[in-house]
Amino acid sequence: MTENKKIGITLRHAPYGSDLAQEALDATLAMGLFGQQITLFFLADGVFQLLKSQSSSDIHQKSVEKQISAFELYDIERVFVCAQSLRQRNIDTHSLCIDAVCLSAAELQKALSTQDTVLSF
């Protein structure tokens, strides 16, 4: 895999209701491991994945917050989050577990369209 592609990953689902969010983040970390140029887009209920103070042991699931905290180790640094989705859900950026760049829907659309390919989770 010598090519270097701009790969967008959209993450739109709330965590824990199904393990889709966990598996999407596992895939994200794996893409990072393979040295691809990754940009993450947390949209709609996907922004719930970024909340601080998740404590999921009582529902017997591994913490999505912990997975997200590992982004840095995997050199995943381009993380976009939808400002409108946060606002609709009354989530302050101070409540997020990582530094994500807040963008408007129009900016996100533009950033997405500059990717070479996209994985839709």
Binding site: A14, A44, S56, I59, Q88, R89
Partner: protein
Amino acid sequence: MMSHAILHTVNQSPFTHSALEQCLCYTQECDAILLLENGVYAALLTHPLSDKLSGKKCYAIEADLQARGLLEQTLASHIQLINFTDFVGLTTQYKLVQSWY
């Protein structure tokens, strides 16, 4: 036991799915609503159905709020946090349980 009252469970996010909206459509005064799994996001104050929900007897599974980091957020004050033992208790008090998913 309430002979004609229904316990409604809702386990989908109200921001993504119409389960809660559907539920509220078919709920009468004496009924109760239990939020669980992703349904607990309805405890956030800002979603569009928050007002409608505030008129109802409403419960939510605390472990589901905790897992999702929601206990640190501003929540609708009239929602009572419960565990699965309480959930079982509720199902004995209401004649029917209708699940919205």
